[in-house]
Amino acid sequence: MTPLVSIEDLRVAFNGVPVLRGVDIALQKGEAVGLVGESGSGKSVTWLAALGLLPRHAQVSGSVRLDGRQILGAPAGELDQVRGGRIAMIFQDPASALNPVLTIRRQLCEALVLHRDLQGNAVKAEARRLLDLVGIPDAGRRLEAYPHEFSGGQVQRIMIAMALAGNPDLLIADEPTTALDATIQAQILELLSTVRRELGMAMVLISHDLGVVAENCDRVAVMYAGRIVEQAPSIQLFADPVHPYAQGLIGALPPLDGPRRRLTAIPGTVPDPAHMPGGCAFAPRCSLVAEACGLAAPTLAPIADDRSVACIRAEASRRALLGIAAE
């Protein structure tokens, strides 16, 4: 089956400094994939680059296919059909994504007119249906309100409604709940999963919060310094992480129940993109580092069905496993 979206060897550099160093990821229709990693790991840049949303001075190379068709570097007219129509995106700070001097109706209708063949009253009726769908009470009246009249959680709901205006096949949610309070975060995550189920939409959930990703995604990719270092079904990744960085991230998360333990902090900090270490970018912080780690950057290699890891130690353990199987 052709994947809905497949990204291969996507690279991005700003002023010659590489920030994305070869990302491969594919998404099936209706699948929810989580992207985790720390700030600067390239989670957002991956999708901004894929959709041609980076500033012109960014150097982008690689391949991004939507239903098998190359969209990286596609003409603006074609990309306009993709953005909002096939792939929609929502961001962390919903308030700054809306125009403060236009009513919600104007902004929702604009998206509908651009992406759907609707005229006159049908546009307004659809705008109202979308607001209803995302759980804004009294949708008919609230359409005439301005963004500042809504709370933070409601503004994010409106952004979701706008993203849904073009009936996209894929929604990229970039830290959609990071700016929200815990109880509102739970509401928005529930809304996203309901909408996704009802519309059969695929989703990429970008988050620094492992818990959020674990609960809402089928599959997770962990990014570090511009590369994917581990990719696995959510349950497997959190139960049994293989890459030392993924292990470190999970160990650094304080438990909410059970006995308290000292957190296993990852020493040091994320490398500066302008002075990336040779070989594996995580090696300077890794507790399992071996001499070979400094020689060449490990590639993302499968270790099981639907699981891959970019770590030479993982490859060694996989060979050991295969050896046992062969006996």
Partner: protein, 328 residues
């Protein structure tokens, strides 16, 4: 030794807020009758959503602003009036660290100078001793003297927060108020700072008031946790017990809303409605419009914080009502 270091009794703080440019001034009860005690060497965690009054509570406890009602006692003595010599002496014993270390540091001064500043202000030691103390503090937060010569802009977020921590510790305080100290940091760096804070607390027998919206971090570091909602404490108890068996419907929703790897969202309590507006506090229990279990009494009568067994106190008619029935 057995008396608590910090005793807060029924403090309240009200701000006047205008809605819009020409709106009428409304009273916002940021903190409304909060009482707490923090034992020496212990950590009290304060959790709640934005607008719950946790930061204001921290500022009142430190004496950065006076409460409208109620009183704060530090080491058995009442807080001294702002700006006096006695206040200065007391302030050297209590310090605060905030969420944004870059905002708390001067970008135009090397960080070592900034760590030294409280020593200069309070006239602690000779100049040579102060330099030694700065090196010692840098070591305590696991940085080198080379880091001290740098400017804040040349340090990472985690390193900056260590500098802020070193400066807060310069005067050898007994009490530290930490307001969201790790919220702006990435998970792996957050773990470094949390571990450091735990170690320093044990070494220096510090007493901490730890304010955060992150339940995981609060549980990791606290002995006792208080949950705030719209300016009041709705539940307080020992950290492990509170998160394992939350009694108040709001605490239950908060714990349930905290996502955990390896747990799917089945059975999650999702509260309806928006976070409440502190300027328009609902009558009765402030939580009742969002509470899945609210009864008629909740809309009219404010529940008092009362003991429900062990060291737990809960302000909820449903919980305390049931407890009194069991006792009868």
């Amino acid at each position: 030794m057995s008396s608590p270091l910090v005793e807060v009794s029924a403090i309240s703080r009200t701000y006047a807020m205008r809605s819009g440019m020409f709106g009428r001034a409304a009273a916002v009860h940021a903190v409304d009758g909060v009482s707490l005690t923090i034992a020496r060497g212990q950590t009290l965690g304060l959790v709640g959503e934005s607008g719950s009054g946790k930061s204001t509570t921290g500022r009142l406890v430190l004496g950065l602003e006076p409460p409208d009602r109620g009183a704060v006692r530090f080491d058995g003595k009442p807080m001294t009036a702002l700006g006096t010599t006695a206040w200065r002496a007391q302030r050297a014993r209590m310090q605060m660290i905030f969420q944004d270390p870059l905002g708390a540091l001067d970008r135009r001064l090397p960080v070592a100078t900034q760590i030294r500043e409280p020593l200069d202000i309070h006239g602690i030691g000779t100049p040579a001793m102060r330099d030694d103390r700065v090196r010692e503090l840098l070591r305590a937060v696991e940085l080198t003297p080379a880091h001290g010569a740098r400017y804040p802009g040349a340090l990472s977020g985690g390193q900056r927060q260590r500098i802020v921590l070193a400066r807060a510790l310069a005067t050898k305080p007994d009490f530290l108020v930490c307001d969201e100290p790790v919220s702006a940091l990435d998970v792996s760096i957050q773990a470094q700072v949390v571990n450091l804070l735990c170690d320093l607390q044990a070494q220096l027998s510090l007493t901490l008031l730890f304010i955060s919206h992150d339940l995981r971090v609060v549980r990791q570091i606290s002995n006792v946790v208080a949950v705030m909602y719209l300016g009041r404490i709705v539940e307080i108890g020992s950290a492990d017990d509170l998160f394992a068996r939350p009694e108040h419907p709001y605490t239950q929703a908060l714990v349930s809303a905290s996502p955990a790897p390896g747990r799917r969202s089945a059975g999650r309590i999702v509260l309806s409605g928006d976070p409440p507006n502190p300027a328009a506090r609902p009558a009765g229990c402030a939580f009742h419009p969002r509470c899945p279990r609210a009864i008629a009494r909740c809309a009219s009568e404010v529940p008092a914080l009362s003991a429900v067994g062990g060291d737990r106190q809960v302000a909820c008619h449903l919980v305390t009502g049931a407890a009194t029935r069991d006792a009868a």
